[in-house]
Amino acid sequence: MIIGFRLNGQEVTARVDHPASLLDVLRDQLGAYGSKNACEQGECGSCSVLLDGELVCSCLVLAADAEGSEVTTVEGVAPEGELHPVQEAMNRVGAVQCGFCTPGFVVAAVDLFERNPHPTSREIKEALAGNICRCTGYGAIIRAFEELAGREVR
């Protein structure tokens, strides 16, 4: 079947032959490689996208269910050539190592700061508890978002 949705503001269509996930369609058919596949079980958050403004693991969403919706991936959180404040904050404090978790953290943090521009440390951690990072130990990620939240940095 052919499905259509808006990806980062652009109309796209994709052919879905088998019960493919939204993540598979993004990566393999639409060439949007920003969202990562690290577990395909909803356990790591690397594939996080906004589906009609709601934060989801795209590996758990059937592509067919994205029909007619607005999908925002890491590639779409900031205009071309610019960084979202969330990305800037992570860049400044060294919150990126291998970077494989980074797109997921960016999308999850964009969602958090849209809902709550001044989260507490605890709110930051709870919002990001579904995102696994194997490299940083999360310290720099927490510092980045505490700074962005305008809180005193430890």
């Binding site: 990562k36 577990c39 860049n91 060294g94």
Partner: protein, 743 residues
């Protein structure tokens, strides 16, 4: 004539926390990982794996797989044009199993098809008839049957020496997985002339290239391995896995072939940290000075050699820790079983023994009624001393006492249990604050830096000048640690220019940088970059009889004698192969100068425990670490925080659970990884003591954070609970129930 207005200082040199150049592309989702590569006309590969840990292959029928539309190739052992064996230390592992499978998940056939789904279906359609054999899954039984990869014997000093205070213990370490977030992935592209270009997850492209060449009977110039973007490594990328398969499929089909392991396949497709069993006896005098240490160390290497010999050696060489002792006996065994193969993981043998010797030091302190840090201070190893095991005189800075003093001086920054809602059970209200018990524990560690035992360990780097500034060319893999930062920083400071960047080149264009492991690249590739930049600057200055080089060009006094563009046009470049001080293999008693350098670290953990439910919350892990010279403090902090959390993972949650050779929890649902809610606060003191042979005196920093963080956390749990806890990971039932792992 240009007149100089005054010398600018170099921006972005060593000592600065420069922003990494690959940060923005990674943040935007534009960075190209091995998983993201695609070329026109490529096929997808997949692997048929053994469902048995040990079996004879009776027959393989590829017919049903080949009959599926879109399948281009189904290859087995018989299709390999060459010896078909690989291995990091010696080639004992079949590219595809022939007569026998020796571990669960061993590759038996490989497939190439039009798309990923078809390839996976075809891999499942291969019909393999097995005759199951009894798997050997117990390392002690393997030892008894002499199924071993290596035995180690270390004897140093008077073997009759005896102390008045004796503690004995038995310890176990479970099988940890590196679990890098990016799984194994790669693309092989045939060149049309019988050769192939390989782009795959790696820590060491030259050794991948060499193994492809040898396994497939190719000529070295036919295979080029390219560094590519990689989502973490931690040791899991040191061994070959899909590399030879990809090249074989690409050469056979004449088409580019891509393969990506899914998470479950990744757990079976790479080596793990060796599980270990360790028996220890420490003897001290009444003042707490170590008189004798005896240890028996048994690590399970699994079915194939990988790096078991080197991991075992490391475990034995560091079996006493950063302490002085003149009477030592260590026996080590690297067992061969039908368990999953084990190899490199961050800490490489030093992790397992550190849990044991630090547990012993705490037991000894309690037997002596002495403060655990005071006991460690009394025995602390220092520059000029001999390593207790090998007798090697330590001739680089070794700030063990400084690490202890720094840890002791750090304030204990923790609130009351339960304040802020951070209880062992999380926010699920499972734990009652009044039941929470707090504990504090310490541990120290020592680890070698670079490769040991006489291995010719070197790294090549090239520095050349381009319109964009200085370029550092290297095949050293960036796994996430920040090598792209630090090599550029070294080049900037050494050349005196502020524009420098790192470019990765393939195996045909530069000699080996060695492995991105053993905490070695800052020292080795950094050393090569430093020396190349130093010589290049010197040659340029001599050529122009000048006295300075900067972003504008070459200066003689206030006169610019050659502009940067002129230098670029003249093609100035310098290539250097850097070696660390030579090491040697051990003698028959395990004695000798086996190591080029050492690093020490110490950790202090603070935990809250709910003893009824067996739940642990690690509140803080503070650390002092010997770094030589901090070239990029923020990168080091990132290594420290990341390494500590992997150590915390081993302490309280991470273990691959085996059932007669089969991994029971090969998913992120069942293999528990620390989340942001599990991450302790970390305060880190970097101890700088110059004198090491690394560039500007720098030491490697990647592994020490992972080594002593584990025993520090367990010591803190013991402090809170009074339990013996002789096995990691510590599970809830180990705390809440009575039984110990008794031996």
């Amino acid at each position: 004539m240009t007149t100089r207005t005054g010398r600018r200082s170099v921006q972005g040199g060593i000592g600065e926390s420069t922003i990494r150049p690959d940060g923005v592309p990674k943040l935007r989702g534009e960075f190209m990982y091995a998983q993201d590569m695609h070329v026109e006309g490529m096929l997808w590969g997949a692997t048929t794996r053994s469902p048995h840990p040990h079996a004879r292959i009776v027959s393989i029928d590829v017919g049903p797989a080949l009959a599926i539309g879109g399948v281009h190739a189904v290859l087995t052992h018989d299709d390999i044009p060459g010896p078909g064996l690989f291995g990091l230390e010696h080639p004992d592992q079949p590219v595809l199993a022939g007569d026998v499978v020796r571990y669960w998940g061993e590759p038996v056939a490989i497939v190439a098809a039009e798309d990923e789904d078809t390839a996976r279906r075809a891999a499942e359609a291969v019909v393999v008839e097995y005759e199951e054999l009894e798997p050997l899954v117990d390392a002690e039984e393997a030892d008894a049957r002499d199924e071993v990869f290596r035995r180690m014997k270390i004897r140093r000093g008077d073997q009759e020496a005896r102390g008045s205070v004796v503690v004995e213990g038995y310890y176990e370490v479970g099988m940890q997985d590196q679990a890098p977030l990016g799984t194994e992935a790669g693309l092989a592209v045939p060149d049309g002339n019988g050769g192939v270009d390989l782009y795959a997850t790696s820590q060491f492209v030259h050794v991948d290239q060499q193994q492809v060449v040898e396994a497939l009977g190719l000529r070295p110039e036919q295979v080029r391995a390219h560094p590519v973007g990689i989502g973490g490594a931690f040791g899991a990328r040191e061994d070959v896995n899909l590399h030879i398969h990809l090249c074989l499929l690409a050469l056979y089909t004449g088409r580019p072939v891509k393969m990506v392991y899914h998470r479950g396949e990744s757990f079976t497709g790479h080596v793990h940290r060796h599980p270990a069993r360790m028996w220890y006896r420490h003897e001290a005098d009444e003042n707490g000075r170590l008189v004798r240490v005896e240890a028996k160390i048994l690590v399970d290497g699994g079915a194939y050699a990988s790096t078991t010999a080197a991991v075992l050696a490391n475990a034995c060489y560091f079996a006493v820790g950063p302490y002085k002792c003149d009477s030592v006996a260590v026996d080590g065994v690297g067992a061969r079983t039908n368990n999953p193969p084990c190899g490199a993981m961050r800490g490489f043998g030093a992790v397992q023994v550190c849990f044991a010797y630090e547990s012993q030091m705490d037991r000894l302190a309690s037997a002596l009624g002495m403060d655990p840090l005071e006991l460690r201070r009394r025995n602390a190893l220092a520059t000029g001393d001999r390593l207790a095991t090998t007798g090697q005189v330590i001739d680089t800075p070794l700030p063990v006492v400084e690490v202890i003093d720094s840890l002791a001086a750090m304030p204990l920054l923790v609130d009351e249990p339960g304040s802020g809602g951070d209880l062992p059970g999380g926010s699920g209200l499972t734990t009652e604050p009044r039941h929470v018990r707090r504990g504090v524990g310490y541990a120290l560690s020592i680890k070698n830096l670079g490769f040991s035992e006489g291995f010719d360990d070197y790294a090549q780097a090239r520095v050349r000048l381009s319109p964009e500034g200085a370029i550092v060319e290297t095949a050293a893999i960036e796994v996430g640690q920040g090598l792209v930062n630090v090599l550029a920083q070294i080049a900037r400071t050494t050349l005196g220019v502020s524009r420098a960047e790192v470019r990765h080149v393939d195996t045909s264009r530069i000699d080996s940088a060695g492995s991105t492991s053993a905490s070695r690249q800052t020292q080795l590739s950094g050393g090569a970059t430093h020396e190349a930049a130093r010589r290049l600057r010197q040659r340029i200055l001599e050529h122009y009889r000048a006295d300075d080089l900067d972003d504008e060009g070459v200066w003689r006094g206030d006169t610019l004698v050659a502009a940067w563009d002129d230098l670029v046009r003249d093609g100035w470049e310098e290539t250097v192969t850097f070696r660390h001080p030579p090491t040697e293999p051990p003698d028959e008693n395990g004695q000798g100068k086996m190591h080029a350098d050492f690093a020490v670290a110490g950790h202090r953990a603070v935990v809250d425990v709910d003893p009824e439910l067996g739940l642990v919350r690690v509140l803080r892990v503070d650390t002092a670490q010997d770094v030589g010279k901090a070239l990029n403090p923020e990168s080091i902090r990132g290594q420290i925080e990341g390494g500590i959390l992997q150590g915390v993972g081993l302490a309280v949650m991470e273990e691959l659970v085996l059932d007669r050779g089969r991994i029971r929890n090969a998913t992120f649902t069942d293999y528990l990884l620390p989340t942001i809610l599990d991450a302790p606060d970390v305060e880190a003191i970097l101890i700088e003591q110059e004198g090491s042979w690394g560039p500007f005196g720098a030491k490697g920093v990647g592994e020490p954070p992972t080594i002593s963080s584990t025993p520090a956390v367990v010591a803190a749990i013991r402090d809170a609970t009074g339990k013996e806890l002789n096995r990691v990971p510590v599970r809830p039932q180990d705390i809440a129930l009575e039984e110990e792992v008794a031996r």
